[in-house]
Every structure is written in C-alpha cells, then in structure tokens.
C-alpha cells in the first residue's frame, strides 16, 4: 500500500493531508501560515504524518498547492489551487459541476465537465469582498470571535441587506445599522448574504454546485444561503477546508505533471 500527501499553503492556513492508494484520508492537519510559509508547510506535513502513523519515507510523493506552493521545498510537484480544488471535488462528486472555493483572501469558481476536466475558472478581483477576510472584518466590527459568527447569524429574525461593494464601506454601513439599533444576529446574517451575492456574481451558477474551502467549513450558513440563492442544494464534500491539499495528494497519486520547464517534451 502506497501513501501520498498534499500540502495546501494558503494565505491564512496551511493544510496537509495524507492519503492511501485508494485515496482514503489517513490524516489531516491545519496550521496558521503566518509569515514563514516554508515552516508552516513543514509543520502541517509533520502533524499530518504523525496523525497517520507513518514516516516521511513511507510517503511515495508529496505535492503542493495554494498561493505559497512554491515555498513548499520538499514537494515533488505542484498544481494550482484551481486544479486541486477541482480535482478533489471531482473525486467525491460526479460532474459536470461548478466548484466554489472561498478562502481567506480569494474566491474561485471552477467549472468542470463530466470527466472532472477543467473548462474555465474565475477568481475574485484584487479585493477582499467575496472572501473570508470580509467575514473577519465584520466579526471584528460586531465584536464577536469569527468562530461565533455563524451561530450568531442563526439567531437572525429580520432580513437586512448590506449593499456596499467594498469591505471597508460595508464596515461603515454596518456601523450605521448598529446605530439604528439593528441586532447583531441580523447584521451577521446580512454579512453572509452580502458575501454570497459577491460569489454568485462571479459566474452563472447552474447545475451541480460544490462548495469547498475554509469559509464553508466553518460557516455552514454560507452553503445554505448559496443554495437558497440558486434554488438548489449546494454540496459540501468531506473535509472542505483541506480539499486543496486532498487534490494535491490526488495529483501526486495520479502522477500529474507540473506545468513548467520540467514538462517532458
């Protein structure tokens, strides 16, 4: 039995996963990326290995993904997170589908055909709106811990809208609503709704939609609101936060090739 690993060096968190020949997940780990991406990658991989009960020598190949993929010096290859989130989602869900990955600092929409082959992708503009950072900003303004935001929104009774396109403007709009006596629970829900509106504007959301990334992992409200917006169920596969790392491990298992000078002619 061979083992493979994937490391997703993200803007906020670094995720690592170890799988076996059948793509069964043996262990997962998440650490803060911080300023030293290489150290975070080492740390996440070491934790995942420890969890799996295997040693580095037991792992056939490690592939990297995420914005810091080039900092993962020990990786045998790399693929973009566009590839890895699509690859991971396609393992669990039969295409054609649209994969929505909402991370800390970017959001992506990845269109896959029936074979899981990528047809197109879109990324958010150079802007925090539509990403996890938006929720952090809102939680800060509301004075709640980010991991409490979803539970707070669940108590919402009054539908409110945040109409601003910009995270900073949304923050000031929030202050206006607070002064108007609006309840934090309703404001939290308005923030989720605002984020969903940014995401659904990125592409035509039709057919099967799969949501991945840290935001849907910790904020179940997001997938629910996305589904409401689309009048369809949004599928959240297992371990959505580590989907990129899982896709990278699959790339290692499937013997994908990195694009670049080393591609054989």
């Amino acid at each position: 039995m061979k083992r493979y690993a994937g490391v997703d060096s993200g803007s906020w968190n670094t995720k690592a996963i170890v799988i076996d020949d059948d793509a069964r997940v043996l262990a997962r780990a998440v650490v803060r990326s911080g300023a030293d991406l290489a150290a975070a990658a080492e740390s996440a991989f070491a934790l995942a290995l420890e969890g799996s009960g295997f040693h580095r020598a037991d792992v056939e190949a490690v592939w990297a993904t995420g914005f810091g993929r080039q900092s993962v010096a020990f990786a045998d290859g790399s693929r973009t997170e566009l590839d890895c989130h699509g690859r991971g989602a396609a393992f669990y869900v039969q295409g054609p589908m649209l994969v929505i990955d909402i991370g800390g600092q970017d959001a992506k929409v990845i269109r896959l055909d029936a074979n899981g082959q990528r047809l197109a992708h879109r990324m958010n503009r150079k802007c925090a709106a539509g990403t996890g950072s938006f929720l952090d900003e809102i939680a800060l303004r509301l004075g709640v811990e980010i991991d409490r935001l979803d539970a707070l929104a669940a108590q919402s009774t009054e539908p409110l809208e945040l109409s601003s396109f910009c995270t900073v403007f949304a923050g000031t709009e929030l202050l206006t609503l607070i002064r108007a006596g609006k309840r934090p629970a309703d404001l939290a829900m308005a923030a989720y709704r605002s984020l969903v509106k940014r995401v659904v504007a990125m592409d035509v959301l039709q057919g099967r939609v799969v949501a991945t990334g840290g935001v849907v992992a910790y904020h179940p409200t997001m997938a629910r609101l996305l589904g409401q917006e689309m009048h369809a169920d949004v599928l959240v596969p297992p371990h959505p936060q580590e989907m990129g790392a899982f896709g990278a491990a699959l790339a290692a298992r499937e013997g994908a090739v990195s694009v670049g000078p080393e591609v054989p002619a």
Binding site: R79, T80, D83, R118, L119, A120, H121, K126, V259, V263
Partner: protein, 411 residues
Amino acid sequence: MTTLKSAATLKETMGRYYRAIGQAAERRTAPVAWCSSVGPVELLRALGFQVFFPENHAAMLGTARSANRYMPLAHAQGYSQDVCSYLTSDVGAYLAGETPLSAFGLGGIPRADVLVFNNNQCRDVHDWFEWYGRTWNVPVIGVRSPRGIDRVRDDDVDGVAIQLERLLPTLESVAGSRLDAGRLAESVRVSRECSDLWEACLRTATHVPAPLTFFDGTIHMGPAVVLRGAPEACDYYRALLAELEERRQADDAAVPREAFRLYWEGMPVWGRLRALSSLFTEFRTAVVASTYCNSWIFSALDPANPLRSMARASLELFIVRSEEAKEAYIERMVTLYGADGIVFHDCRTCPNNSNTRYGMPRRISERLGIPTLSLDGDVNDLRCFSDEQARTNIEGFVEQLADARPVGARA
C-alpha cells in the same frame, strides 16, 4: 523577453527621435504637435510638425514603474483613480517636473504648439489633451469618431474625412505653411509601407515556434507608433523583418520548447512586461499575437487618396468596431496564429481596451471552442494588479491547456 540583434538599432532609432523632438521644442526649429497614438500623424508630418505621442510617454512611465509615483498628483487635481492611468501618470509626471526623456537629454516633455486627437480610441485622450491645452493655452483639435462600427461604410468615411479637412486651417496657421498635396501623399505612402513592414514582422509569429512574442512586439512597435510616416521607421522594420525571417528559418524560438500558443486581447501591463513574459516562458507558452500590436497596422492607407484613406484606416481599427466585428477579427487572428487560448486583460482604467466587460470572453470561447482567461490588471496603475493572483490565474490556465491536450500531442 527575446534577445534580438535589432534591439540596439531600436534604441538608436528611438533615441534619435526623442532628441530630435526635444531640440525642436527647445530651440523652436520646428512646430511641435502632440498626436494621439492612432491620430492623423500623416497630416502633421506633411505640414512639417515634429510629432510627439503622449501615450508612448505614458507607456515609458509604466515600463519604468514610476507611474504610481505620479498618479496621486493628478488625482489631487480632480482626475479620478478610475480614469485612464496613462492620463493620470503623464499629467502627474508633468506636475512633478519629471520625465524619462531626461535620459535622452530632454529637460522636460516637449511643449506642444497644438494637440491633435482622434477619439476613436476613447474620450480620455481628449480630456488628457485638454489639460495640456489649458495649461499651455494652445489649441486642442481633433476627430470625433463614430464608434461600434460593424462594417465601415462610405458615409462614415466621408464624415471623418471632412473632419480631417477641418483640422487644416488651425494646423496650417500653427505650422505657418500650407499643406502640400504631394507631401501628404508621400507621408501616407511611407506610413503604409511602415504598416506593411510591421505587419510582416508580426506575421512571422504564425510560424511554430514563434520567433517573437507579444511582449517583444510591445517594445519593437516603438517606431511604428512614434515614427509612422517617417522613413526611419521603414528602415528599422526592414532590418527587424530580416532578422525575424532568419529566426523563423532557423526555428529559433522566442519561448524555448514552445508548447502552447496564446492570443493577448487588451492593453499590456507595462510595469509587469518582463515579469509576465518570464512567467509565460516558464510555462513554455508563447503569447504569439495581440490586438494591441496589430493596432498599428493601417492597411487602408492609400497615397492616391490620402485623406479618405486615413479616415478609413482610423475607422477600420479594432477599437472602434462593433462586438460582432471584434469577435470575427479575433477569430481570424486565433486561426491565423494557431492559438490554443486567449488571455483577456481587463484593464481597470481603460474600459475601451477591455473587452471583458460585455460578455465577450464567454461568447468567444463558445464560438471558437477554446478557453479564455480574464486577467485583472491595468496598463499603468499597478495597484490594480496582483502578481500572485496573476501567477495562479496564468499557471492554472496553462494547466487547463495541458490537461486538455491529448497525450502525445505537441507538449
């Protein structure tokens, strides 16, 4: 970027041009006209003007990555961050009293005696020229072009030709001479020759592997921009064409082991020209053709009918055409150059050169059956460009091309 022997001649040619116009402005040896990049330069040359192209100057600010230093000065004058960053960086540089032309011995940008625009490309160029017109109290004249043209009709041509004629009294007054029909015909002839030679240079990239890329083209197009209608430009492109033909014969690739070929639609990101060129090269991807470099091909120019042919040439340009005409043009280019995909640059401050905003990438992709990538950025304002996001977008796009290619095909 590809190392071409002609680069040294290019530097000399451009240096001579900048020095000549600097001297004309400082010593008042010839009248100086500012002209928008695809404006009626042939008319200006025939009247003896030294012609300065502020878009070329703005691109120099972008390439030198000094543009972002100057833009805030123009913003403070009330010019929004959302208007053309060529305008804001150029005006800002003027306000700062700085110019990259100092490297050629110029004390400042050459002061215009008249500014001549054609708004076929955008309204911003007119606003830009008006700023200098007010600052220097000199005339700003130009052509107000029809836009969204499907098929160029004779009455459209008539309308622009009449406007060109109407420029003459002001231009003759500033130049202090009457237009000589023979000189105009000669200027148009030389412009056409330059256009044909430039087109031939670009067409060498239809060869696999391509001997030059879009990124090389943005540099080597300099003489076609600033010396159109002058014999020096033709001399330069004859030499460049010979070198490119030689490279083509020898299969000398601009991108070593070229695996993928792309078409670039939109403006360059001047401050990231080299970085993007290196990135595509790293992924063995040659950006073989572009709307931008092709925009200095004026095949309608005809010395037998100077003004009308100038009018027609300005109306045939991609930027003034309808969506359908633009899509048909891109289809022809993609076929001609054998492109595997298209990169659309969504240039934040240049809506007229951003064909991403009314659904074209999706329509083109469906029409041609090839993938498209929309890249956010800007021509000069690097605040609108993310290196990391661009890298992921481009690398992801090449992955997509690689995964779609049958095993054993060229790669």
